[in-house]
Amino acid sequence: MSLIGTLLGREETRSLTMDQPHPHSLLDQGTQGVIGRPLDRIEGPLKVSGRATYAAEYPAENLAYGVLVRAPFGSGTIRDVVADAARSVPGVIDVVTDYPTFIRNPQQGGEMKAPTQGVQKVDYHGEIVAIVVADTFEAAREGAALVHVDAEPAEGAYVFAAHRDQAETPPPDQIPPTTSQGDVDAAMAAAAVTVDATYTTPSQNSAAMEPHASIAHWQDDGTLVLHGAYQMVASDQSQLAAALGVAKDKVRIVSRYVGGGFGSKLGIAPESVAAAVAARKLARPVKVAMARQQVFDATVRRSNTEQRIRLGAGPDGRLTAIAHETLATNLPGEDFFEPAGIGTHFAYAAANRLVDHKLVRLNWLLAGSMRAPGEAVGMLALEAAMDELAEKLQLDPIELRRRNEPDQDPEKQVPFSSRQLVPCMDKGAQLFGWADRHAAPASDRRGEWWHGMGMAAAVRSNMLQKSSARVQLTPEGRAIVATDMTDIGTGSYTILAQIAAETLGLPLDRVEVQLGDGAAPPSAGSGGSWGAGSAGSSVYLACELLREKLAKAMGTSPESMTLKDGRAIADNRAVDIAELVGDGLSALGEIAPGKQEKAFNQASYGAHFAEVKVNAVTGEVRVERMLGVFAAGRILNEKTARSQCLGGMTFGIGAALTEELVHDPRNGKVVNRDLGEYHVPVNADVPQIDVHFLDERDIHANPIHAKGIGELGISGAGAAIANAIYNATGVRVRDYPITCDKLLEGLPG
């Protein structure tokens, strides 16, 4: 633990770098009894009554409306944006182009620099190249439809299959592109039983319900205030400032409510820069809400993948070789690669290992992070391959995984901070009735439906990011938490309130949480499932310092003081906290990752179970039941945590059965660029999913002992469905999504 300090000119701060385990947590000693409980979201009444304000919903004087204009070709150089007709539309104020400043594509999450800028040379179909600004939305939209983008066409790479042989090794990104131990080829040759299979997954879209939107409003002092739909306010401010060529402290993003992100709002998207450029030129606030089609065209996709999995095992099922080789795609110049092998690094033991990623450059829209980048599609392959291996070994899939449980990280040779994969599988098997599964495929037909069960493991690396928060105690004895952390539906508002309430001994309704304002202390933001652990720890640390201040004011020590229901109790005295606060107390909490990150493998685990029925005539798949059992450190709020898992598991249903972005082979255009054609699961596609948590604390993760959960639920979920389909029908489809047409031919008669 590092310094406690009141440095001159610096707010009183409690900082912690996670160099050491943190075995004691105030959350285990609190008496308020709010942590962990399945409490309702504190912002719930605002959301259900339509009073929560999303990016495009802030009023502004003299507001103008912007509609974005896209390049309707896959590659080329713009000669002219012909806008005479647009300008003549009544109400249209201007058609603004700024080729060098407009961004070619969104930025990746957490980057501090501007995304790739410059749109005169167009690299993908739908790239945003201009903005029409008008007094009304209707006029701007009419104007935008009349703009003609005149361009010199160029050759482009639009077909994955045609360019897959030109794959290149990208620089390290979230993980190194390649790691290996031992000799996979030799081990495969010597193995008693092997699987060598290639799985493919298509491009996907996060399809958050709120399309990206920004209201750009330049203030008199030259500061830009941007109400945006962004997950990571601090780094987004930095990106936007860099893109606009202004100082970092001249951009303030406000993102109080975000209508879903799933990675698509990690970095700034084209509407933010276009709105800011137009607002600066016209000297009035400009609002831009992307059309749904533009979200599909010009924000970010999850890369398609081609994944070759090789597994070699002895007759007892113990793995001797694991290889996971992935081809992913991205635009020229973009280094993000879908890290499909990220979970394979530590999921199972095997002496000979290879995890490799290569990038194929295509003129398709940007590829970036979508919920659980890596595991979401990587586990579709690995966990299906494990099922194939279990089948070959005539071994129960749970038993196969049990036999390959590593006792430490099999690559880095460091201990796991906690690992409850086997207990998750065992608990799930018991709750789901796994013993009733027919081991032989296609052996349970009822009427015209084939029934089957499948399971898969879930693994997801845990991350801690630098994060800070301010907590104030008001003279009335209320707490105010302020950080630029966002709540994208994850439950940040509520769990941060619970942490403050528990540590300060306050009823929940005496805690106010202010999020998403870039003027507040910078946080980790929402991404990578690190939000709760990182932002939660910063609030915890600020509260820890406040407890010391309260104890001092009471003339006692924090250890001998109990805080409950707004009262401080010590030395046979009980006083109202308000009496100890004076004119108010304030403290800043800061958490940072440290040596624990590398000294231990930190991850969360789970097991998915699915029961499906497959129509023997049409190949239609219905998910009948689904259960997820998860271990992710301390569960801060059982209600919102469960919801996170429901969401992840449902993303798994979509990935397994319906979701596929189709790129036109002639120009890379996203063909199915709306919610009518890109099929995300609807209510009738999703059963009453069960979620169960195992009790766990991770003292190596952070002082609140919680780990990420938002992406754990998707890891392996789709594979459990694929494995259930195989169990039901005996048909193994390795090309996701598993649509009727791919099943029909192989269905038993």
Binding site: E142, M209, D674, L675, V682, V686
Partner: protein, 169 residues
Amino acid sequence: MRFTINGQSHEAEVDIRTSLLDLAREHLGLTGSKKGCDHGQCGACTMLVNGRRINSCLTLAVMHQDDDIVTIEGLGTPEALHPLQAAFVRHDGYQCGYCTPGQICSAVGMLDEVAKGWPSHASADLDAVTLDDAEISERMSGNICRCAAYPNIVDAIREVAGERDEVAA
């Protein structure tokens, strides 16, 4: 044109190109109804017009002369929630909250359709509709929730529908 929205009568001059959704969001300050797709594919904009649920992005404002329109703001306030709004909070029938107003307006309209005995694709008996989970899921499938609060949405609606049945009995 003249119309009533959330019990308040309005007279307004409206661009013939303005959708009912944009009228509410951009001209009346009623931003509770959400724009998720502007194509009638997601349901986030669902309002009640003369008691029926509709996708307000797919209908022009000028088509609603003298209509009685209810948006999420008209169902309840944070201090006095409609029973369905309260049930959505209790059951966590939302996450990001963006589809939620549409879900709730849709549920209000849907329960009325069931009360009138209208069958759905999921109805086993077209003449005697019972509101089981399959019926709720089917009838709510015009409202996409990407956060996937579906099981909780079903729980919330089932609870409110059950309470109504108890009152009716």
